[in-house]
Symmetry: C2
Subunit: 128 residues, 2 copies
DNA sequence: AATCGATATTGACGAGCATCGATGCGATCC
DNA sequence: GGATCGCATCGATGCTCGTCAATATCGATT
């Protein structure tokens, strides 16, 4: 069972890069309405959109953008989202790996900030 | 079993509208980086993004946009996507219900076209 | 160094979803 | 009117993912 799962992830990495799909979107994907999207480009774009397509993760981005210093630590987000701390950490990891957020550890706290231009890059692929 | 499924859909409709999430996005959602997103707005926006966050559906939109008349019938898309016809019909239904496509039946064929401004509405919520 | 607080990771569970074969339904054609 | 073609729906299946409890890790404080 475990062998099967690892094998699938391995083959997935071989075919298309798994991390930072957003960078691949900005670098390689052509705008969606400008000519037919290739199958690999569609996969890359879908992976980036899928990270964004979750209420908790959208609120994370929104909360960070709305905060005074444009940053937030995990405990703030746990209070605001009313989700468990492991769940919030899980969403944050997804957003970092996709290229929407960066993590900076200062002492005990981990501060998350937006990657400038990340949302714009995605929007530009949707609307040229 | 059937009663259970219908009940879930009914209660879902009571809490938040299920159809045309994209219209709700354009009408009610504030831009994601302009102030904190409310929980219902986050749910609505996530539902619209989730419809878009699939390689097959992205390619459908792209194929329609790239076609000469900006329209496509199911059989064209089945050939292009290399998916079964029920699967393609399923994706098309999702895109229509979300407000990205409209369906027009002409004779035996069903023709799908893009809803003008649908992608723009979504992009505007991401980037104000 | 022992403890404590903040965060990350693991494992498991349940819901949702993408996919397909089988079937149903109209419209067209012979 | 029967046969055929295009498309939608149904039921089932296997996978993905959001969530949380438990646990681990790591820095800070005493």
């Amino acid at each position: 069972m475990l062998v099967n799962i690892d094998l699938r992830r391995y083959t997935a990495k071989m075919s298309t890069p798994v991390l930072l799909p957003l960078r691949d979107v900005a670098e390689y994907c052509t705008p969606i309405t400008q000519g037919a999207l290739s199958a690999p480009d569609a996969e890359t774009l879908a992976r980036a959109l899928k990270v964004l397509a979750d209420p908790a993760r959208l609120r994370v981005i929104s909360l960070i953008a709305a905060s005074p210093e444009s940053e937030a630590c995990v405990c703030d987000l746990v209070d605001a989202l009313e989700l468990s701390q492991p769940t919030v950490s899980h969403h944050l990891k997804q957003l970092v790996e996709a290229g929407f957020l960066v993590r900076e550890k200062r002492g005990t706290w981990a501060w998350y900030t937006l990657v400038p231009g990340s949302l714009e890059a995605l929007a530009k692929v949707l609307v040229p």
